[in-house]
Symmetry: C2
Subunit: 152 residues, 2 copies
Amino acid sequence: MKRDSRLSGVLHVLLHMAQQPGTFTSETLAKAMDTNPVVIRRIMAGLRDLGYVRSEKGHGGGWTLACDLTKVTLRDVYTALGSPSLLAMGNRTEAPGCLVEQAVNAALDQAFGDAQALLLSRFGEVTLAMLGDDLRKRLGSRKLQGMSAHGA
Amino acid sequence: MKRDSRLSGVLHVLLHMAQQPGTFTSETLAKAMDTNPVVIRRIMAGLRDLGYVRSEKGHGGGWTLACDLTKVTLRDVYTALGSPSLLAMGNRTEAPGCLVEQAVNAALDQAFGDAQALLLSRFGEVTLAMLGDDLRKRLGSRKLQGMSAHGA
DNA sequence: CCATCATGTAACATATAAAGTTGCATGAAA
DNA sequence: TTTCATGCAACTTTATATGTTACATGATGG
């Protein structure tokens, strides 16, 4: 399966925006992420609907942060993306008539459920502000070497 | 992403075989699983290479179990499949130059790593024999209703 | 009012990986 | 030597994330 990197992508966008106040166009963000503006709008749509960011059209328009970064967790962002499936593996058949399959599903579902719960729990423990703090640390040590955030 | 059901599938096959001694052709197993014989051979190849099952050609040939079901865990089976990726999500870019991306990756990798470790650990706790026991329980209660393993 | 800018969205194209299918080679048994 | 079964390569199909194009919508500045 192709790995889903939307969560990674949207966090990257949010963290970039958190680095300085103001509005950012999809094109600006897309360039920083080396992707297409439409992709930015796509992954941001859910966040807008939930009020974490705002978007405005026309001159001077673009995206702005509209939430308390200390309150929004990775889990909130994940939910805003529509809670895409976390696991690459699944049951061959859901609700099978075959008892053998039922036994297999029961065993796997147990493990899958635990892993999903753990992931969501971890996501819930990390706020965007924490990511920003970590980033500032990285920026600090990098600045000592005279390099920028995107530096080679 | 399309969900990988090979682990589910191969466990189904093994559990079917464990229900009665003897050899099973790929075609027989494929019919029970409602799939193609080549798919069976494909998902069984790794298990054969590791000695968990044997395959023989020609008249009377087919697949036979060749392991102690109390010793082989779901993790062993997973490994035999080639340890396919467990998570549906991943980082947008591995080893990025962008510090923002590095911060995002660090946070996600933590959660992803924990979830993977938990899954592997759970897999390691469940043997094929345990699956068989669970299946027998299910068969028992179903028999009281006059139904077979595949019965609708 | 209108030209410009930016988002919103649909539609289409591409990439990747699992699952299914076909064809044939290999080898064992009757 | 015919039949049966696996081994395997190559191809098709399907699903999904990602990328791209085109155009509608609406806001701003002239």
